[in-house]
Structures are given as C-alpha cells and as structure tokens.
C-alpha cells in the first residue's frame, strides 16, 4: 500500500533522511518510532506530498508522491504534529469544512468517525481553540478521516498527551482496522511500539530495524536481567563500573543489565561484590526485553 524506496532528504548540512526504505501493507497499523530529530516528520511530510525528497521515491496505493500528488492529497488523511485545525471555528464547523473540501458530508461518513466523534460531539459548538489536548486530538483524527481515506498519516498524535488520552487514542486506531484503512503513525514513545502490527525504528535519519514488535524483541542479543536494591542510585554507579557488566540502564524501579560473562559463577561474583559494597535487598530476575531495550542496543 505504501512503498518507500531509498529516500534521502537534507536541509543544508543536516541530513534528515539517509536512504530510507520500507513497505507498509494494506490495512496495516505501522509505527515509525524514534526520538525528536530522527527524521520522522520529514518522512511523513514527503508521504503527505508536502515536501519533496532529494532522491529516492515513494508511492501510496501505487501512486507516486511527487507525480500523482493530486490523487494522493484527495485519498489520504494527514494529521500534522502541530494542531492545525481552525481555532476560531467550532468543532462542528471544522469537521464540516473538511468534509466540504473533500466533496463529502458529515452524514455520509458518520459511521466511520462515530466511535471517535461521538465522544466529543456533546461539545460540538465549542471553538476548537478552547478544547483540551485529548479533545483536540479526537477532533483532528475525525477531520483526517471524514473523506474515508485509503491511508492515514499521523505525525506524533500522542506527543505531549497524558497517559490516559494516549491509551484512548491507540484504542481508536485499533478500531479503524475494521475499515481496512492503512495507518502509518509516528511516535517518540517506545512503549507504543507494542500496539502496532509492525514498526520501523528510526534514529538520525537511518532506519535501524523494521519488523513486528515480537520479532524485534526476539532479536535482542544477550540475556537481560532486571536488578534492584535499596539504593538504586549507588547500585547503578557500582554496576556501570563493573568489568563484567556489558550494559546497565535504568528502567523504572529496576536497572536492566546484560552480563559480559553470563555464567552463574560470574553472576555470583558480581552479586557478592554488590553486597560487599553495602547494597541491601538485592533482587535479580531474568526478564524479556522490551522495544526500548532493543532500541538502546541498536543505538550502542
């Protein structure tokens, strides 16, 4: 459905995208995951026909994003990272505006947007500028969907949004799978990767890996352990300096570590050392890596 081949894009000396390529299948919920400055927005804007690549090509539904931009603009829904609806129009007026532009009506496609729009409909007379973050997001998604697009391009819809609204937003995206809409969504939150069918991990304009979240996690090199002690700050300092520790990163109340030599004798030596250094209530357990563990490993 979406094919991206060897796309590069520079802004002056900064190379935002370096030979990026991957494919997204019809009906797939595809995540583009990476920190700010990784190149996510540049790629989204190329797909949305808003900027041109320096080299390489991309197509949506077999149409080229450069040559066939008119077709693409009529048949995709795009939600930019910055809230871009008309703040001085009401919620309903915004929706009506976008429906009219695309030659349709709210009534015609109401069924598609109903699960989302019905949540905010009681406030439809309220000006878009006066909505809360979560409501703005729901309205923007409704507007991007109102012409029943073949593909949705969502640029960081959950950035700066609290954990509750984020969860709700992903539930809405899952609902949309029923309508066979292809969705490409970017996010800096690694924990959202698990909610996608497949993801591309991106950093500094390079795609690090493209796969299902499960396969990415399975490809983690080495055995991962979670460890904690009463004084987690000291524990972190001690482990990082230890010669038998390959990597050590904080994850919530635990540290995630990989041993260089993973034999039980060598592990025991590390634990003895920690106890001798005054660490109390040490808990160690083997764990499965998550996407963030994998991302960190790919960055190293």
């Amino acid at each position: 459905m979406i094919t991206i081949t060897n796309i590069s894009k520079s802004y002056g000396k900064v190379q935002a995208l370096k030979n990026v390529g991957f494919e997204v299948s019809r009906g797939e919920l595809f995540g583009l995951i990476g920190p700010d400055g990784a190149g996510k927005t540049s790629l989204m804007r190329i797909l949305a026909t808003l900027i041109l690549p320096d080299s390489g090509s991309a197509s949506i539904a077999g149409r080229d994003v450069v040559k066939d931009y008119r077709y693409i603009r009529n048949n995709i829904g795009y939600m930019p990272g910055r809230f871009s609806l008309y703040q001085d129009l009401s919620m309903e007026e915004n929706l009506q505006f976008f429906a009219t532009i695309f030659g349709t009506t709210i009534k015609e496609n109401y069924e598609l947007i109903k699960p989302i729009y019905s949540q905010i409909e009681p406030f439809k007379k309220r000006k878009a500028g006066a909505l809360s973050g979560g409501m703005k997001q729901k309205l923007a998604l409704s507007c991007a969907l109102i012409h029943r697009p073949e593909a949705l391009i969502l640029d960081e819809p959950t950035t700066g949004v609290d954990a509750v609204s984020r969860t709700e937003f992903w539930e809405m995206l899952k609902e949309l799978k029923r309508y066979d809409i292809t969705i490409i969504v970017s996010t800096p939150y690694m924990d959202e990767a698990g909610l996608c069918d497949r993801v591309a991990l991106i950093q500094s304009g390079n795609i690090l890996q493209v796969d299902t979240p499960q396969n990415i996690v399975n490809s983690y090199k080495g055995k991962l352990y979670a460890i904690k002690a009463q004084d987690i700050y000291q524990l972190n300092n001690l482990l990082r300096q230890h010669t038998n520790i390959e990597s050590c990163f904080t994850f919530g109340e635990f540290l995630h570590i990989v041993f260089k030599n993973d034999s039980s004798e060598q592990q025991a030596i590390v634990l003895d050392y920690l106890e001798n250094q005054g660490m109390k209530n040490i808990v160690v357990q083997p764990i499965n890596p998550n996407i963030e563990d994998c991302f960190i490993q790919l960055l190293q």
């Binding site: 609290d162 954990a163 800096p188 690694m190 904080t250 994850f251 919530g252």
Partner: protein, 242 residues
C-alpha cells in the same frame, strides 16, 4: 513548616473566573528531594507550577518556596530557583558559550565564576568541543542536557523541570536522569513533571493531580501497593479515570 523544607503549600488555590484550576492543594517538598508532579493534561499542573515559581499570584491559601512567600516575594523566589522546560530553554541563535554567559549574567554571577562553572559544565556533559556552535546546530539531546546544566548554573535551592525529556532518545533520557540524581545528591531540590511513567519511578515521591486537586501522593512503591498494580502507568490511569 519545618527546617529543611524547600516547598510548602497549604490549601493553595487559583481561580480563573468561575473555573477553579487549582483547588486547595497541600504538600511539602524536602530539601534535596526529587519530587514528581504528575497529572493529566488540564489537571492544573502548569497553573500550580506558575504559582510556585512566582509567575502567578494564587487566589487563596499559603505557599512558601525557598522560605519566600509566593504572595509577597515572587521576585525573590525567581532569584533562588532554576527553571527549564521542554518548549523553551536556550536561545537558538546564540552559541553554547553565549547562552551560558547570558544566563550567568542574568543570575548575577561574576565573570570569573561564569568562566569556572562553564568549564565544569563542559567537562560534566562533554560539550567543550561544541562551545562555539549555535544551539540550533546541536542535537536535541545535548541541548536538553545543556539547558538543565544552565538552569542550575547559579546553584539554586530548587530546580523546576517541566517535561524536560519529551521526545529525547532513550539513552540521552537516562543520562538526563543521571544529572538529576547528581543534582539532588548535592542538596538541590528537584521538582519535575513528565509524561513518561517510567520516570515517575525515579522520583522519591510523586503527586498526581486530577481536576485541580492532588488525588494521590507518595513514594512510587507505596502508590503501586495502594492501588494494587505493578507499574506507575497503571496507577496513573486508575487515578485519572476515576
């Protein structure tokens, strides 16, 4: 209020017309503590923070920050705190060194002190090679670490961090928290907001705001036990959905 208290708030309230943005919140933050200030969008976090940093007069209640009354000594508070946010922190059209000089000057540091602290700063975050680069030309992760170091350049009693790690890559995000820990260990109080719930676990205590009130407060471990869940994310969702 006891000695060793950095922030004290009792029944602190802010109304905008009929709307009560912050509704009688009370809490204390100890010197050197890392205090996580969490809440859903629109819960009143920003309004509360603006009152505590001397930018907005409360409607009622009491609060002191570094021993100064927020009603009467807003200007004194501004001199004794550091502040950094994700949205704005450094001047993009100035170089790294110029930003440090600028902020040092604003906080009234002497030229020699600025020089010495600049060197310490470069060493700590390994940024000496970029001292003459424009902020707009350095990667976001470095920028955020630099912004934090600049916000504590004048060795404030408290530093307020408003979503300091939004969008930052996972390794830099952790390096950022290393800096936070070091700062707290030196006795500087850290007041931080975040949308990353794993970061809530790094705080000594957290409070969670909903609809203008503090709905829960405590050590992350206590809160997880109290709500019978395994992660702070679940605690947050349970409270915010109540």
């Amino acid at each position: 209020m006891t000695a060793g208290t950095s922030i004290y708030a009792k029944n602190l309230t802010k109304k905008f017309g009929n709307f009560t943005a912050v509704n009688t919140i009370s809490f204390e933050v100890k010197k050197g503590e890392i205090f996580g200030f969490l809440g859903a969008n629109g819960a009143g976090k920003t309004t509360a923070m603006r009152m505590l940093t001397g930018l907005l007069k409360p409607t009622s209640g009491e609060a002191t920050v570094c021993g100064y009354n927020v009603f009467t000594h807003g200007e004194q508070i501004k001199k004794h705190i550091g502040y950094m946010s994700q949205r704005f922190s450094l001047y993009e059209d100035l170089t790294v060194a110029e930003n440090i000089e600028f902020y040092g000057g604003i906080y009234g540091l002497r030229r020699n002190d600025i020089k010495q602290r600049s060197h310490e700063l470069y060493d700590r975050i390994d940024l000496g090679h970029a001292r003459n680069s424009l902020i707009s030309a350095i990667p976001l992760g470095w920028r955020q670490k630099l912004a934090f170091m600049v916000s504590i350049l004048h060795q404030p009693e408290i530093v307020f961090l408003d979503e300091p790690t939004g969008g930052v890559d996972p390794i830099t995000r952790r390096q950022f928290w290393d800096l936070i820990y070091e700062t707290a260990n030196k006795g500087i109080t850290v007041f931080v907001t975040t949308h990353y719930m794993d970061e809530a676990e790094y705080c000594g205590r957290v409070s969670i705001m909903t609809n203008g009130i503090i709905a829960a407060m405590g050590h992350p471990q206590e809160l997880k036990q109290q709500y019978g869940v395994a992660t702070m994310n679940e605690v947050f969702i349970k409270i915010a959905r109540q």
